[in-house]
């Protein structure tokens, strides 16, 4: 975990209001696990003062390049999208613990479920799983066709099913509809996306390991300010809470109470 200036080598739209950002620097070599994230300082300005947490979508350790995918929404991400090649971005990371993949064996079948801008961290996860010989199936949910991204990239790594809420692409409906439809046999499931999606997955939890990556508004992103806590489901837990930034962002289903 370091705070470093990284060189922007690409920052361009890949779908409606969705940008792919590539930055280069030493920090890339510190990444330990898929699902980790970075905390990006948007400018030298007090406007959009807080950093923005964005998942690591891909890492190229040879060229020291990190890829992130983000949606322009509020002030900070809009300003980030105006950042151009050659500029330096101050980035803190890698943060959090990411998706556990140590226990998954070669030949096993993993299902990766992503919703919207929850999709990006699954890409590096899938690449890592592939390296281990784990077979990955991707289920990617989006609102509508225009904002679908990385379908081809995921297809290279394993089958990728797309669902759109309005039916403009793939299955009409949610990722859970694809899951029902296909009734996969699998060994482990990883998910990242909006809370309702994660809740639906947790509810249909079938005994196989399920890992959920959460979002929370953050202050420090390093575990010091307690902005990002979730209560544990286990009321006898000695702390009673987990910090999304430093204990997460990935939790085993059942560990924490999903926020609403």
């Amino acid at each position: 975990m370091i705070n470093a200036k990284m060189l922007v080598i690409q920052n361009s739209p890949i779908a409606e209001n969705i940008f792919e950002l590539k930055v280069q620097g030493e920090l890339a070599s510190h990444v330990k696990a898929p699902g980790q994230f970075v905390h990006i300082k948007i400018g030298d300005f007090i406007d959009a003062m807080l950093r923005r947490p964005i998942s690591i979508c891909d890492v190229d350790k040879d060229s020291h390049v990190l890829t992130m995918i983000y949606r322009t929404d509020g002030k900070g991400t809009k300003r980030l999208s105006q950042c151009i090649e050659g500029e330096m971005l101050e980035i803190l990371g890698p943060l959090g613990n990411g998706f556990p993949i140590e226990t998954v064996k070669a030949g096993a079948h993993a299902i990766l479920v992503g919703g919207g801008v929850g999709v990006p961290p699954l890409y590096y996860l899938s690449k890592q799983l592939k390296e281990k010989g784990v077979q990955a199936t991707h289920i990617l949910g989006f609102q509508t066709e225009e904002i679908v991204f990385y379908e081809k990239e995921f297809n290279h790594l394993g089958p990728a099913y797309v669902a759109t809420a309005d039916g403009t692409k793939g299955t009409k409906g949610f990722v859970t509809d694809v899951l029902k439809e296909q009734d996969f046999v699998y060994d482990v499931m990883y998910a990242c996306g909006p809370i309702p999606m994660l809740k639906a997955l947790e509810t249909n939890y079938n005994g196989k390991p399920l890992y959920l990556s959460l979002e929370q508004r953050m202050g420090c992103a390093i575990g010091a300010c307690l902005a990002c806590v979730c209560e544990t489901q286990d009321r006898t837990d000695s702390k009673g809470y987990r910090k999304v930034c430093s204990d997460g962002p990935v939790f085993k289903a059942g560990e924490v109470i999903l926020p609403c």
Partner: protein, 310 residues
């Protein structure tokens, strides 16, 4: 040229992280050696453990942020057994921040903490705006603040700093009241009560609805209050509110502070405290100042001189 000496606190430089923005230092110790700091104000302790408020607990505002953490902490006993124990491996003076909703809680917590060898001073948080029960009156009514100060002073083995709330009409009255009640120093300012509403939901962004406003946005208010209070009390002031860099530290000293604390800026740059500390000597040289103490209250000391020579 940077060492400052305040009741209970021998600091090699005047910069400390502000309470609640640094937990107990573990996370920042990954970035730098905590011994580089002048002191550390640790997260507020309460008698019992507290989970705090529901999330979202923070929101961004123009030039600042709101927080409503709600004093989450593991309780004074665990802070002593785990956090202060861990802090024993450093030499930096520790200021233990204390909160509560009743006088008895403050007194209990103060007594426990002040006995600990690692605790150099107490800081009474009489002003946390994010807690429902009680609390507010401690920070806004001079007599109540004075009463609390007196009772804590009676049990404390170390100097007591009272952390004032800016949500008052008359900061001078608050400062004088706690000085008379025996406070050894003041910390100011805590956050201003603020709110943001999410346009998408129509609801306050913070689950707690209101939160404390911190960051550069509140700096002019902090400067004004320190300028006012420092002219009316004889106890030193730890200044805070929006400090980001060495220039800000100088401005707080000019206003009348004897040391400073850095809160929100730690989130923007985890290395900000050591960066500020290392920038200070050059800044002082640039200003032809031999010691940072020489800047203390200069903005009003010179005025006084002028007016008395008229």
């Amino acid at each position: 040229m940077l060492n400052v000496s305040l009741p209970g606190l021998n600091m090699k430089n005047p910069v400390m992280p502000a309470s609640g923005c640094f937990a107990f230092g573990r996370e920042f110790n990954n970035f730098y050696d905590l011994n580089e700091l002048g002191a550390i104000a640790i997260k507020a302790a309460t008698k019992e453990a507290r989970f705090g408020n529901p999330t979202p607990r923070v929101a961004e505002t123009p030039g600042g942020m709101l927080n409503a953490i709600g004093l989450q902490n593991p309780g004074v006993d665990k802070i002593i057994s785990e956090e202060l124990e861990w802090l024993k491996s450093f030499e930096t003076p520790i200021i233990a921040n204390i909160a509560g909703s009743q006088i008895e809680d403050y007194v209990y917590t103060a007594e426990q903490l002040s006995k600990h060898s690692r605790v150099s001073a107490l800081e009474l948080n009489i002003s946390c705006p994010n807690v429902k029960e009680g609390g507010i009156a401690f920070g806004t009514v001079p007599e109540i603040a004075a009463d609390l100060t007196e009772k804590v002073k009676a049990v404390s083995e170390v100097p007591v700093y009272v952390k004032l709330s800016p949500n008052v009409s008359d900061i001078i009255a608050m400062a004088k009241a706690v000085e008379e009640a025996g406070a050894d120093g003041l910390s100011m300012i805590n956050t201003l009560l603020g709110m943001r509403i999410d346009l998408k939901t129509g609801q306050p962004i913070l689950a707690n609805k209101m939160g404390g406003l911190s960051g550069p946005a509140i700096k002019p208010i902090a400067i004004r209050m320190i300028y006012e209070a420092s002219q009316h009390v004889n106890i030193p002031i730890i200044g805070m509110g929006g400090i980001e860099n060495a220039d800000d530290v100088v401005e707080f000293f000019l206003a009348g502070a004897s040391a400073v604390a850095v809160g929100t800026a730690n989130f923007i740059d985890p290395l900000c405290c050591p960066k500020i500390i290392s920038a200070l000597p050059d800044k002082l040289k640039e200003m032809n100042v031999n010691h940072i103490n020489d800047l203390k209250g200069r903005s009003w000391r010179s005025c006084q001189k002028t007016s008395s020579s008229r």
